[in-house]
């Protein structure tokens, strides 16, 4: 065991995979010499050299296009898109090219690649550097999407993503980069499509992702003090989605709540809530509840940003209200 920050876990994850497989390459803006704008990739250039860890121009289409072409011709490349908001300038590559090429060619093309990106708010960057875009990626058939909520998951899910034969988007909540946790020594490899039950409870299922995991855990602690047993499920992987874990918990508790950092419309929780409503409706004791950011761009100032993103207070309040 060693205590690591989430940002240190990112570089350990990349190093673990580059060490293991020489076809793993890592490219992005300011990722090599500068070690990343969030300092998540420090030391990789020194360790793996300037060919395998490489700075690119500010050309998001070229970065993502290059990993696609690289994957078509024998590499297992990793691209960093500095802020997930920048997906909007390379969305053609992600949504039209990477996601569709295998299907369109009837399986002639395999794309074992990873795009990792810093996502979400909480750091006062304003509307163009704070979005939670996991639902954009989830909406496109052909992309796998994971959101690690702690350093160990970052390493394990990232390793699973690199080893996966399909394109995987690894969404890193940038508000968590400074978070510290004990991480096991040695190689860590997880699997895609497995949610984890972080806390057991019998009264309500709270389904969460990314940075909201920690707020939901705080809220669950406080709900317990009031005699409400909240079961907290970290979804971790949106595609593939562990619906069995979510449905089993909801059947047990009879109540279902999502906590989403993304704006209201078409957030990941809307899809999960619809699955719950369709498949375990008669096990529910009350309406499903979605706690999300309002349907607005995120404001910059702390006073407003904190108001927008679901807080433990809001989660406690909404869960209690839903229980009547």
């Amino acid at each position: 065991m060693a205590e690591l920050t989430y940002r240190e876990a990112v570089s350990r994850a990349i190093a673990q995979e580059m060490e293991r497989d020489e076809t793993v390459y890592f490219i992005g803006e300011d990722v090599a010499a500068a070690g990343g704008v969030f300092k998540t990739t420090e030391g990789l250039l020194e360790r793996f050299g300037p060919r395998r860890v490489r700075d690119t121009p500010i050309s998001e289409q070229a970065i993502v296009g290059a990993v696609m072409g690289g994957a078509m011709n024998g590499l297992r490349p990793i691209a960093e898109i500095m802020f997930s908001d920048f997906f909007a300038v390379c969305w053609d590559m992600i949504a039209n090219q990477i996601a569709k090429t295998r299907y369109m060619t009837n399986g002639q093309v395999a794309l074992p690649l990873v795009i990792r990106t810093a996502n979400g708010g909480g750091v006062r960057f304003g509307a163009q550097h704070s979005q939670s875009v996991e639902a954009w990626a989830m909406a496109i058939p052909g992309l796998k999407v994971v959101v690690p909520s702690n350093p160990t998951d970052m390493i394990g899910l990232f390793a699973a993503a690199v080893r996966d034969p399909d394109p995987v988007i690894v969404v890193e909540p940038k508000a968590l980069y400074a978070m510290k946790a004990d991480v096991p020594d040695g190689e860590i490899v997880d699997r895609l499509g497995a949610a984890t039950v972080l806390r057991e409870g019998s009264d309500v299922t709270i389904c969460v992702l990314g940075s909201m995991v920690h707020r939901a855990m705080d809220a669950a602690e406080r709900l317990a003090a009031d005699g409400i047993g909240a079961e907290v499920i970290d979804v971790r992987s949106l595609v593939p989605l562990d619906t069995q874990a979510i449905l089993a918990s909801t059947t047990k508790t009879g109540r279902f709540v999502t906590v989403e950092e993304s704006p209201r419309l078409c957030g990941w929780g809307a899809e999960v809530a619809s699955i719950v409503a369709e498949e375990v409706f008669y096990d529910l004791d009350g309406p499903v509840v979605r706690i999300t950011t309002p349907h607005i761009p995120l404001p910059s100032t702390d006073a407003l940003e904190d108001l927008a993103i679901p807080s433990p207070d809001v989660i406690v309040e909404r869960v209690k209200a839903s229980m009547g």
Binding site: T23, Y25, R51, T56, P57, S59, Q61, A62, V64, G65, A66, V67, M68, G69, G70, A71, M72, N73, G74, L75, P77, D92, M93, N96, Q97, T101, R102, Y103, M104, T105, N106, G107, Q108, V109, A110, P112, P141, G142, D164, P165, D166, G193, V239, P240, L241, D242, T243, Q244, I275
Partner: protein, 338 residues
Amino acid sequence: MSKAVRSRSDKPRTDEAVRLEIYRMMVEARLFERRVHDLFLQGLVKGTSHLALGQEAIAAGYAAVLQPNDLVYCTYRGHVHTLLRGAPMAALMAELLGRANGICGGKGGSMHLTDVSKGAMGSYAIVGAHMPIAAGAAWAAKERETGQVVVCFFGDGTTNIGAFHEALNFAVVWELPVVFVCENNLYMEYTPIRSVTAVENPAADRASAYALEPILVDGNDPDEMHAVARRTVDLARSGDGPSLVEARTYRHGGHSRADPAKYRPEEEVAEWVARDPIPSLRERLIADGIDATTLDEIDRAAERVVDDATAEAQAGPPPDRSTLLTELWADGGSEWRN
């Protein structure tokens, strides 16, 4: 006036066998696309199709110099490029007809013909998208030291989209073995390229912005095309990095099957049809001593090839319903939940 230099191949040194092969490829491609057009008019090829009638010398020039493990990326106007890379004609035709024996099982269609086994790495229908992807394939070739060259074909209109510029800069900075070939057919869809572009030669005049030699070639001259192809592919193969070629050409028909191309002046069309690369190579070959009967035999053989491919394609059944949900993921399926 343009600063672009015309590529001069002195006396084309292409030997006779290669010129005959280029002739054969162009004739096969021409007859194939004419057949596609006929089948379209019969309602058998559905959706859309973008023919390269008149532009065949460009793909043929490159096809004649590429090695089996080289990679080609092309656009929705990519029937010819894919065919001349060696993809089986019947499987291409079957794809256009939406049959199970199609090269993509009917999932790709006219705009996405692909045969990875032949290095035809795909036809891309979002303008410019394949340029960074081609650069990426060249990056892998360089890192893995495979000796492969990547050739990426695109249109004049594509020079005005961001991906063109990102890909060129990237390929030059990383010194990648890729050749970018602009087929300037004077129109982006229905609009004359000169009316929407800051420079006269949309690719060649921008080459200097990427520290590349401006190369402008007559894309309807198969000998010149072959010479430029050889030179640029050799450069890439020997580690001298990317090239950007602008080949002037013209499509005989409309942009896509729905387009009667009324926006083009009749004299312009007539002038370019008179410069059709196939009869002009034929005349040259005869002038250089090739027997006309040899060429006639090539023409007849091409007709048989297209007839056979059409029959084989049409014999295929529609795709099985079960294939709807296959091949999204590498495990062969499309499941997203447990």
